[in-house]
Every structure is written in structure tokens, then in C-alpha cells.
Symmetry: C2
Subunit: 204 residues, 2 copies
DNA sequence: ATATAAAATGAACACTGTTTAATTAAACAG
DNA sequence: CTGTTTAATTAAACAGTGTTCATTTTATAT
């Protein structure tokens, strides 16, 4: 009797299917994914794909997840430990945005999808112990406690900064703004506004 | 010989098709739109739809456009002329966001679509003589000229505020935040940050 | 070599957008 | 009222989609 594939064999085939799907995304975007195309590229018939992925959604979700993880890696590999906390945050966000704009399809897919499983992925940022949001939240709390920042809920403020950054990134992607200088100008101005807004000062 | 339909007759039928499409969107979202469903609802066969709309994209684009116009109306109908400029802007943005969150599918469709014809629609906001962005831009220019706001490019700052608002709105839609109080808290905090950041003051 | 179970296939189903030949319907002339 | 003409509508087909499942192929243990 034919032996059941072990987990490693299955993993290899799943990986091959994922790689083929990603290559389709690179050439035709997420809309271009079709089970038949994936199958042909992987050297299978369409039906076989279902032996490795429950359905198309699961396959696509996996591809999105792996793409987004690459974007997140850009944040984590950006250390800049010698700078002030504000500059650290700024650099991390900029690294994140730069990575997102290099994989716009993936960024869009993960940020816009209201599929529960994918919304959950975005909150990786919120939950991961060293995720950008947590670092940001702690820095803000520190600033408030030391009376440097104005009063406010650090959790809410952190999320607003993150959402604001997302909005600008998304608009730059949608409007196909590619010029590195323009991108930098927009991002710097946004952080200037937001961080300046955090300072504790009376309004004139 | 059968007379050609006049423009009014065609308009009426187009309108009927649009109404049917919108009713599908309301029940199943934009993904639910299919020419066959639209045709059946409108009392036609699929082929006939193509007499009134070049293709599905054109039909969908028209539906998106009309939906977004409704969102924009909310901004325009929000007068609040007795308040300060900052409060006017704040109120307009809040009206816009509230309208967008009541028609999330349409807002999402218009803001996320990189289809040239639809990106053009979003710049209605930029171009319309009394669009939110222009008002914002003028107010910012005034603040800078009167030495009240810090130095900066009003066009860029206006776009950043708009993009930041979009980001927060989109995240609240995606994360299905429905509580009116929470929505208000997030929006107010965002404007506090951004407008406070605009003030001309030395950083401590 | 053969039996057995797992993997892979191929065909089918129900759907999609779109095109086009054929049909139906309406308005005019005689 | 009867053709004729022409526009509106339809029905059928095409190529594509995701998915399922009976059938076939394949690899292994006996």
C-alpha cells in the first residue's frame, strides 16, 4: 500500500504551490490568481491543489500572510538603537512604509481585507511583544508620565499614529507616488505634525 | 420601422439598472454584483445590459460614483459657518467620516480602487472649488501667513490631514468599530494631535 | 507479483462576463 | 389591415472561474 506522505513531504509541495501563486501575484496581481493557473505552474491538475489547500481563500490568505511577514521583517531589522525614542519610532515607521510600498499588493491585501483571519494578522502589530505599536505605546506612555506629552490614552494615540501612517501609505500607493523624495517629504511632514501635536503646550 | 429610443428613455432604463445594482450591493456588497443577477432584477436578459452599459466595470464604476457623491453631499451640507475655521474643518471631516462609515462599501471602493477613472473621482475632493481639501488648504495657508502655524507647504499638509483621516476611517471600517462614542473619541484625538501639531511652538 | 491505500486525474457542475445570430416588437407606408 | 423596416431583446454559445468526486495511476508492504 502506498505510504501516506509525511508532514515534510506535504510541506514541500505546499511550499511549491505557494511559490507558484506568488509568482502569479508578481506578474498579474492578486486578481490574476486562479486555481487552474496555479496548478499548471506547479505541475498538477486543479483538483490536486485541494489536497494541499482547503480552498482558494486559504491559499490566498497564506500568500498574503507570508508577504506581510516580509514587510514586518523590515520593521524588526530596523534597529537604530542609538537614537532618541522619537527618532527610533520615526525610522521604524519609515522602514515599514518603504517596505509596504515595495509590496503594495500585499500591503493593500492585508490592510483592506475585513476577513476575520486577516484582520487578526494586522493586530500582530498590536499584539506582538516587540511590535511597532507596542513600542510606540510605551514611548507615548513614558512621555505622558514624564509630563513631556499632553494628557491622553497611549493606546488610542498609538493607534491613531499607526492609522494615520497607514492612510498616507495607502494613498501614496493608490495614487502611484513613486518619487522617493516626495514619499520622504510626506512622511516626515506627517510625523512632524503628529509628534509636534503630542508636545505639551498651550494653544495660542 | 421601430423608433430609436430617445435619450430620456435610455436614461430611465439605465437608472433602473443602476438602482437594481445598488440593491444587490446593499445585500451582498460589491462582490455580489453579477450581470445575470442585475439583469433578472431589472427584468432583462444578461445581453440587454450591454445595450446600456459598455461592460460590467463601467456599470460598477457608475454605482461607486453615485455612492461616493452621497458621501460628499454630507460634507457640503455641513455648514457650521459660525464657528472658527479649525472647528469648521473638524466638523466637515467628522461629517465626511460619519457618512463614509454608513456606506463603508462605497467608501472603500472609491478610496482603494487604483482604476484611473476612480482615482480621478477622489481628486474631486482636491479640485472642487469648495471641496474639503481646498478649504483646509486655504485655512492652513492663512494660519502660516499670519505666523500662527509653523512653516510648511499648505498643499502637502492638507493632503496629510486628509490621508490621516482616511487611514483612521478605513481602519475603523475594517475593524468594524461601530460604537459612536469610540468613533468620536478616535476622531477628536486625531484632530487634536494634527491641529496641535500645526501650532507654532518650540519643541521642549 | 499482487493487494492495498494514497495521490493524482479528468470530467462534471454551477457559476462568471461577454458576444452574436436569431427573434420579437414597434412604427411607418401603401 | 398588411408588409416592410429597423431597433430592442433574447437565447445560445464561448471561454473562463472555483469546486467536487468517481476513476485511474502509483508506490509500497506483503
Amino acid at each position: 500500500m502506498r505510504k501516506k506522505m509525511d508532514d515534510e513531504q506535504r510541506r514541500v509541495i505546499r511550499e511549491k504551490i505557494l511559490v507558484c501563486t506568488k509568482s502569479i501575484v508578481e506578474e498579474e496581481g492578486f486578481e490574476g490568481i486562479s486555481i487552474r493557473k496555479v496548478a499548471e505552474l506547479a505541475g498538477y491538475t486543479p483538483g490536486s491543489i485541494y489536497q494541499y489547500f482547503e480552498n482558494k481563500d486559504v491559499l490566498v490568505r497564506e500568500v498574503i500572510k507570508e508577504g506581510y511577514e516580509k514587510i514586518l521583517e523590515a520593521v524588526l531589522s530596523e534597529t537604530g538603537h542609538s537614537l532618541t525614542i522619537e527618532k527610533q519610532i520615526r525610522q521604524k515607521f519609515k522602514a515599514y512604509t518603504r517596505a509596504a510600498m515595495e509590496m503594495p499588493d500585499y500591503y493593500k491585501a492585508v490592510m483592506m481585507n475585513d476577513d476575520k483571519a486577516i484582520v487578526g494578522m494586522t493586530s500582530v502589530l498590536d499584539n506582538a511583544s516587540n511590535g511597532a505599536i507596542i513600542i510606540l505605546e510605551k514611548a507615548i506612555k513614558k512621555g505622558i508620565d514624564s509630563n513631556e506629552f499632553k494628557e491622553g490614552n497611549p493606546k488610542i494615540i498609538a493607534r491613531i499614529i499607526w492609522a494615520s501612517n497607514f492612510g498616507l501609505t495607502m494613498r501614496m500607493i493608490t495614487e502611484k507616488i513613486n518619487d522617493e523624495e516626495t514619499i520622504n517629504a510626506f512622511m516626515d511632514e506627517q510625523f512632524d505634525l503628529l509628534f509636534n501635536g503630542l508636545q505639551k503646550k498651550e494653544r495660542t
